[in-house]
């Protein structure tokens, strides 16, 4: 086991400088940061912003770090978003997860779902794609020391 650590250490040290000093890697960091800072045109008063659940899923998220600006700019805005109800969503609840695909295979990553709260209606499982309109909130929400959601949406009820 000890020898394996040394092998890893040496391999890493030999290869690391070429990457650390690689201009391409530096450009990658800059490009990724630029993507994160991409602007979303602010909506005119009362307008609804169309947001893509796939774009939210693709956003870079680091625990404890600020979300990309284009996402934090959406906080408190009225949005329209499509997605699927997480598979097996029970009936009669006031909240559910909206996901890009109905099955996330027990590996629910924080930036892969929107926590939806229904203010008037209750859940019933709808297979297939649904589109919701409501108020979007972004940022880490913690319970018992664990982050339970990054993206949240408050809407009245499910589509008919």
């Amino acid at each position: 086991m000890f020898a394996r650590h040394w092998i890893l250490l040496i391999a890493g040290l030999l290869a690391a400088p070429s990457f650390v000093l690689d201009a391409a890697s530096m450009r990658a960091v800059a490009a990724a940061a630029a993507l994160d800072e991409e602007e979303v045109a602010p909506p005119a008063d009362g307008k609804v912003v169309e947001i893509s659940i796939l774009k939210l899923r693709a956003a870079r998220y680091r625990p404890g770090q600020p979300l990309p600006k284009w996402i934090s700019d959406l906080d408190g805005k009225r949005v329209r978003i499509w997605g699927h109800m997480a598979i097996g969503t029970l009936e009669g609840l006031e909240a559910f997860e909206l996901v890009p695909e109905s099955c996330e295979c027990n590996r629910s990553k924080l930036n892969h779902f929107v926590d939806v709260t229904l203010t008037e209606g209750q859940t019933r499982f709808i297979p297939g794609r649904i589109t919701l309109e409501g108020t979007f909130f972004a940022g880490e929400k913690e319970e018992d020391g664990f982050v339970t959601s990054l993206y949240r949406l408050t809407t009245t009820e499910l589509p008919r």
């Binding site: 394996r4 774009k55 693709a58 598979i87 629910s108």
Partner: protein, 460 residues
Amino acid sequence: MILRTFALVSALIATPGLAATQEDAAGRPARPQDVEKIDTFIRHARTGSAVIRPQAAERLVRIGAPAAARLYELSGDSTEELALMGTALVEVLGQFDHPELRAKLWPALEDADFPWRPAAARSLAWAPTGDEWERLEGYLDDPIAPVRLAVLDGLFRISQFEGEEPEAKALQARRKRVFLDHAVSALHDENDMVRRRAAVLLDARGHGRALAWIVEELERVDIFFDRPTGLTARYDAMNVLTERGVDLGDYVPELPSSAPAGRRSNAEALARIRAEVATRAERMDTRLPEPLRGLVPTELPAIARAGAQVGGALLGLELKSCRKGEFYLRWTEDDQLVVGYGNPARIPLTEGTTARLVALSKETQAEVGAKVYWGLPGCDVESYRMPRAKGPADLPQQLIVSKDERPTADLRPAALSELGAALAASIPKDTALTAADVRTRELARRVRECFASIGGAVGD
């Protein structure tokens, strides 16, 4: 422990593509009071919500040896007992410096019925030992795509080791070379995630030409009924290329690859990205030893090309099993069976097959009434799409059966079993029709096995 951490961190710096997938575990260090919470974290990792389980498992990894000792006590003596720990814990067992705990992962991977094989494979691939090379190689053709992907990662890591003695140096030189062959083979994998990872690993080894596989995905337009599989791939490809230092400029995944004059499209951005990646690949190629140049083919195989959208799909069957793999099947109005997504394979069907199955699907809908879902949340899913018997024709009806890792009796209603049996029976067994493409080879048998592992056997 410090040495192990430093070694892993330095190795990960050298492989940015891998570092990006594993950064979640590199959080803050464990606090002394966390040690007292080991059992609490284990409980959260086993029974918490899907989003909390991996976070609790990562806390255990940060605690280190005391957590590993406790997990070892709880891991039992069989794969059945190990399975009870749940996927989040199996996922991290290989991250502990605890050989006995690690040894429990191999029987899990070897057990075709272990419910968390992808997690076991990723766990093993996190910090593999040199003597695990051959065992990992044995899973390069595993039926489960995430297992194949994890195996590639594991082999990549082992091939990074440097030997000290001449014999060990020679062995590692051979492994470096063999790894490249495995990765080039994986560029032909039926699963887009595996192809993408192979391309990233080859690029990390100086074979920049492999990024052409990912650039191609920027043009994918495929959809599977209401699932924009192509758009999802475009976002994934965009992230991968950005991490590899490719400047995507004003490429926008939501825009088409080309459009009539005056309409916005990605045409110019794509042309520039292709040129940049080609120039970068040529530059990287010159730095490779002569025998390794041109290892990655210049032409993409059909399976990796961005295909056109499939028209006229009336029926769909999506099967996902953590033990038997995934299948995406469509029956079209002109009697073709379309297999997979991206650039799918096609098998001609006997004339009238789709119409007969559509008629049966309407009977199924009449039998099940308003109910659309059966089972429990979980990874094992059967999803049937069909024209609605009543209601808007452009909105397919979707019926879903799902379950967790436990066998569940009488899960699928009889009417849906009858439809499943008919769909399975319609898959041609004629090898002249099915042998040409990896996705269609022995498809009928594999689909039946997948059905059996989820909602139970269908038909004969």
